[in-house]
């Protein structure tokens, strides 16, 4: 019995942390990820052999750890990363999901995608180059997508003689520039991904730095308060109606709690009808729960018989979301076909489908300088702007900065079915 308990402690009490990595082409991002994977033993012998073989064939001097993440034939042939790759590793404390976004082609689109689900953004800065335009861009996207924590890794410290001054100057410059950004939690670490300084092991070359290593931070950064446990929001995904004698009158609403908590006895309202009721039970296959919270997937039953279907939202009565057909949002354009003013698009918001018309583009942002452009009314691939849309039916939403689930929207081109815009409701 004790043995079983030890076993559980060792393997089952891990938290999950999702992070994204941002860096320019030669900032050493692949090397850093390779180092994290390698030092946490997430790279296996056969994978290592395979990339050693491939590096040798290509005549690379070092084992090219980028080959670990560049999985597609075209990527390996051209030596570039095309798409967001997901990588996994675990330590006894946490399981990590890395959204590794490429440094050049389609940069903004990919970083926005990777950032949309991340708790932490790692922003890499080359110690020799300092803070560049793209560093601002990385910081801006992390802030726009409301990643709660950003870790700025000043990399290649070995190439600047492990100089404290270089590190402090970059930190100061970055802090100045990030005044305009909206991230609560910024950390700075001097590292050398190649040599391993302050990645997993403390650096012996930088005794002036007494902060944590990157791995320590990733394992310990406090993420439990990242989710919104205040506003009860339950987008209905699917109505569960068993056609069985035993559950004759059962009518349950399946969904994933977007934010807040739900428990039997809670007063709730159903949108859009506005009917109110009380939660009867919170069900899962194994047992009914006394309380459920974000991001659990459960089935709710209500005391009253109300007509509810997919796309409706069950909310706590005490804190209602906003309801409107005129929505203003920041949008990142993801398609090679530019946005069409007054054009019609399909949209997805929580479990709800609707259509919309683009009514206005008040301004767009130069993501390298953070300047606003009020003149240009076009929005093309990788550009970010503020738009106003009119929807075919009311949406129930919260501002994105308050709720990443009920505040996000994707726009879909009706002709191609492609996802063309990523919207964050203001």
């Amino acid at each position: 019995m004790t043995e079983t308990k030890d076993f559980q402690r060792g393997y089952l009490n891990m938290e999950l942390l999702r992070f994204t990595t941002a860096g320019s082409v030669d900032d050493g991002k692949s090397t850093l990820i390779g180092r994290l994977l390698y030092d946490s033993k997430a790279i296996f012998e056969d994978q290592m052999e395979a990339i050693e073989r491939a590096s040798e064939q290509k005549g690379d001097e070092h084992v090219n750890l980028a080959l670990l993440t560049d999985g597609l034939r075209a990527e390996r042939e051209q030596g570039i990363t095309i798409d967001v790759a997901y990588r996994y590793f675990a330590t006894p404390k946490r399981k990590f999901i890395i959204a590794d976004t490429p440094g050049h082609v389609q940069y903004t689109r990919n970083m926005v995608t990777g950032a949309s689900t991340a708790n932490v953004a790692i922003i890499l800065v080359d110690a020799r180059n300092g803070v560049l335009e793209q560093t601002i861009r990385h910081g801006y996207i992390a802030s726009l997508l409301r990643i709660p924590h950003a870790i700025v890794c000043v990399n290649k410290m070995d190439l600047v003689g492990y100089s404290e001054k270089v590190f402090l100057d970059i930190q100061k410059k970055f802090k100045e520039l990030s005044m305009k950004l909206d991230i609560q939690d910024f950390r700075f670490i001097p590292i050398s991904a190649l040599k391993g300084d302050n990645v997993v092991e403390r650096s012996e070359n930088m005794d002036w730095y007494d902060g944590p290593t990157l791995m320590y931070l990733l394992e310990n950064i406090y993420i439990s308060s990242d989710l919104n446990y205040v506003d009860g929001r339950f987008p209905v995904q699917y109505v569960v109606r068993p056609q069985a004698e035993k559950f004759h009158d059962y009518r349950g609403y399946a969904g994933r709690i977007a934010s807040g908590t739900f428990e039997p006895g809670d007063r709730v309202a159903v949108l859009p009808s506005g009917f109110t009721s009380t939660i009867k039970s919170v069900d899962t296959m194994k047992k009914s729960l006394e309380q459920a919270f974000a991001p659990q997937s459960v089935v709710l039953t209500l005391e009253d018989d109300i007509d509810i279907s997919r796309g409706d939202m069950i909310v706590k009565e005490n804190k209602m979301p906003e309801i409107s057909q005129d929505i203003e949002m920041m949008v990142c354009w993801l398609s090679e076909t530019p946005m069409v003013m007054n054009g019609k698009y399909s949209l997805k918001h929580t479990t709800s489908d609707a259509k919309c018309i683009i009514k206005d583009l008040p301004f767009k942002i130069n993501i390298n300088t953070l300047e606003k452009n009020y003149e240009d009314k076009s929005l093309s691939l990788n550009e970010i702007g503020r738009i106003r849309i009119r929807t075919t039916k009311p949406l129930y939403y919260d501002p994105y900065r308050r709720n990443r689930v009920t505040g996000s929207i994707i726009l879909i081109d009706e002709a191609t079915n492609n996802t063309v815009g990523a919207g964050m409701i203001v």
């Binding site: 393997y11 999950l16 689900t117 991001p295």
Partner: protein, 301 residues
């Protein structure tokens, strides 16, 4: 906030259930691809959780190469009986008999690639518009870039360079007539997560995963199970060993692990200590560096 903590397995579970429900809601005729391996067993378990107390609102389908372990088929039939679910079976042998594919010959002959034709035919015949699979991104590098909702054109092909961006938890399953989606709810799980989950939830799995005595022979660093249809070289000697399966596919390409693990605890310890990937024992991936990508583009699982 401490009381609102979920461990990594509960978060993965919630994500997968959400995706399975999205499939039921967004598509007209989904199907769950079932192989009898642990990933598809966990998939089916999650699907049952997703719709409980109602039944899973779509069928399962097994593409049977005819080269499966007998234990896998028995397990499948038992599981269907116990849960009252339906599992459709389509046979690669039928595709061979119809002349749609040609059986490979020689020592490394396998029906693994032939499955793609049988699968795509079945999807077309039964008009499935979404096929749920147990693929995971940690399995293979071509899978690392696959979406949860992965679009397939009217020929069943995957275009890895031209995938739809996937943001937040908003999944775009819109498509034209004749196209379909492959959906991978376990994308974010690792091999270890699957085993820990099986342990945590006490999910039943075939005995093949536990140690047992079996007649095997050694080829290119992999122990393969002996069976009447396995073509052996003269130098390959059949011996009896204590082995277990780390993955279960068809016999021709499933490497056996020498192991004495007879409990889930043992298996988890073994997975934690191992230094070779799960697919390192899969013969089908050794054919070339882009073997998986090439198969997937054609419409493989």
């Amino acid at each position: 906030m401490e009381k609102y903590n979920l461990n990594h397995l509960r978060i993965l579970e919630a994500e997968s259930i959400y995706i399975i429900r999205e499939v039921a809601a967004q598509f007209e005729r989904p199907v769950l691809l079932f192989s009898g391996g642990k990933d598809s067993i966990v998939m089916f378990y999650l699907a049952r959780k997703a719709f409980w107390p109602a039944k899973v609102p779509f069928p399962l389908m097994h593409i049977d190469t005819g080269h499966n372990f007998l234990e896998t088929l028995e397990f499948r039939d038992q599981l269907m009986k116990k849960t009252g679910a339906t599992c459709l079976v389509r046979l690669v042998q039928d595709s061979i008999d119809q002349g749609k594919v040609v059986e490979e010959t020689g020592v490394n002959a396998s029906r693994n690639i032939l499955q793609t034709v049988t699968l795509l035919d079945a999807i077309e015949e039964l008009k499935f518009d979404a096929a749920l699979g147990g693929g995971r991104r940690d399995e293979e590098k071509a899978r690392a870039k696959e979406r949860f909702f992965s679009h397939r054109d009217e020929f069943g092909q995957w275009d890895p360079k031209n995938q739809r961006p996937e943001l937040w938890n908003l999944f775009n399953g819109k498509k034209n007539m004749g196209e379909h989606f492959r959906v991978f709810p376990l994308s974010n799980w690792t091999e270890m997560d699957v085993w820990q989950y099986i342990y945590m939830e006490d999910v039943e799995i075939p005995d093949l995963y536990y140690t047992h005595k079996r007649k095997v022979f050694y080829r290119d660093g992999v122990w393969l199970a002996d069976a009447p249809f396995m073509v052996k070289k003269d130098t390959e000697e059949v011996v009896e060993k204590d082995v277990r399966c780390r993955t279960i596919g068809d016999i021709t390409c499933t490497g056996m692990t020498l192991s004495k693990a007879n409990s889930l605890e043992d298996i988890i310890d073994e997975v934690a200590a191992t230094r070779v990937t799960e697919r390192g024992g899969r013969y089908d991936d050794k054919r070339s560096e882009a073997a998986m990508e090439d198969r997937k583009k054609e419409g493989y699982f």
